[in-house]
Amino acid sequence: MINFNLFVLPFSLGLIYLLIAIGKSWYLWIKALPAHDKVKLKAGIRHPQLMLGAIREVFMEGLIHRKMWLRNPLMGYMHTSFALGWFLLIVLGNIESRFYSGTHLNAPYYPIFLKFFIHDKLVIFFEVYTVPGIFRFLMDFILLFVLSGLFLAIIKRQKSKWFGMKRAAEYQLTDQISLICLWMIFPMRLLAESYTAGYYGSGGGFMTQPLGGFLVSITPLPSDFIAYTMWWGYSLALGIFFITLPYSRYMHIPTEILLIFFRHCAIQPRKWHSAFSDVEVHACSRCGVCIDVCQLNDAGITDSQAVYFIRGVRDQYVPDEISRKCLVCGRCQEVCPVGIRTDSLRLIKRRELFSSQPSDYSFLPTASLSRGESPRQGGVAYFAGCMSHLTPSIIRAMKGIMEKAGINYVQIDENRSICCGRPLMIAGKDRQANDLITANKELIRQTKAELLVTSCPICYRVFREEYTLPIRVQHHTQFILDLVKSGRIPLQAHFKKVAYHDPCDLGRGSRIYSAPREVLAKVADLVPVINECSDALCCGGSLGILNVSQQQRDEMTKISLSTLMKEQPEILVTACPLCKKTFSKHAEIEVKDIAELVYKAIPG
């Protein structure tokens, strides 16, 4: 065999191992999908438009890393140079090798180590008029591109701030070994190709040829021996990287592709740990973007962020308290470049922990509206929610608004309120929450109303997602906006400076950003805040987190407040009773619900 040398073995064995490992994982994950998801997958694969969309996303996110660019250009460049650069090296290297071998069936190592086997005679700078010359230029250019990314990656270890990251994820041993091998690959390639080009005096491109000449001239040892050693080093770096890849964070590279295809086939996360969750946790690249956005940092908690939690799930070891320690505010999910549903993963873990705890809600009334709560045919059923009972001014304002607008309404939880169930669900107790849901659904049905309005975003979300109600559900911000638009409540603007805080479950949880702002624009002068809409901070009162102290909550609340005070508003407005209650404790200005502001603006 002419085109063979022992040094290709580490690479070749590594590649074979890697392909088997990825193939096995993919096969097991797809096999473990429930039947209806398999049907979706099969249908999706036959749908060319869906597949084109998926391939496009693989290209944009997997190679270009579009979301990384949007986050920070330096970070984007670093990722593009590694992913796209390496991809192009492989593709162009393959095409290049065809010119020399004259066949389409090359051993996989042949294009990778092409320069070892081939020593072209032509050596002219930027020899763009020959096909081998173009390739030699391109290959060197792309190698330089990748090396520039490597340079940035090394800087990033020290100066992650330049890349828009205050904190970087901490890595385990397997990750570090993989990382070192990955970093070694391209410098080894550069050295191997340069020494070879230098030794033969030909065959290199605009970078490797002069560098090779220089290296050979300063190396006292025989340069063919050095070159050969470098080829071994290059092959070993590749081989070890391939073998450690399935056990390190770099498993995200093959897994993300599968995840993108799953998503395009509309496969959804399930309530319990499933093949989809497995794919999600393996698709986590541990880039650490989720760390900075996590407000638990403000409370001095640094071991519970999504990246560490997901790593725990992947390693099948998550301490109890890590599962409990999450605001479930959804901020990490919002910024995850891979689009991992971090919240649903956390809730899956909580279900495993707490769903077996017994409950007994037999005391709940078998659904009868209490005194004064007569059915309202075709009217509005108003559900204030537990939290609103702690902020009665919201309930008063809502009732006032509905009365002024002449709405035919009944309040379901006037005297006694049954919890909506979300606080239980957020602790993983879905089964227990079902009893509450059944009781509330029966009450809602008895009102004979056509529209359910709630003042609490927590209730709103669970009504929408879990109740499957036959009637429409609105949060009061949407309801008030409808009333204002239809002219049922005349408003007299006061134009005080107000800042609006997006509650987690209304904003990120339910994607309602514009309704409250439209209402506020009618009654006040809305000033900008630092973190708005999907980037809004949690007030710190979240029901999602179970094990932080009040002091830690207070820290989060204070920092959250400070982002809202940028333009010195006169009133802080929110649309959630829990946020209002939490902020009221620390705010130096008035904290009001949007309903209170509107009620006050109704003349007469």
Partner: protein, 110 residues
Amino acid sequence: MKDFGYSVLKDETIDYDRQDMRIAKYVLLQEPSIQLCIGCGSCSGTCAAGHFTEFNIRRVHTLIRRGETRLLKKEIQKCMFCGKCQLVCPRGVNLRNLILSINKAIEQIG
């Protein structure tokens, strides 16, 4: 025995050496903030489940601290976990985690 028309109350003396303090110990470890409790009863006053039943989280707490765990298992199941108690607590006791921990303790001790 002669019927005097009244009964003798059962002895309610609590002997800490004889009480089952396992749940108390576990819960204290899991949620140390309960040591801040001043027994004001705000939690029970606002309790959503308390509006329907006799459920009283303050009493549950007292029972645990006394090691009277007989009635606990049934009682704790009534909590709807809404978190109002935690919001009104003037001492910042982490009541939702307390409930979870009590449940966990019962689960483990049986």
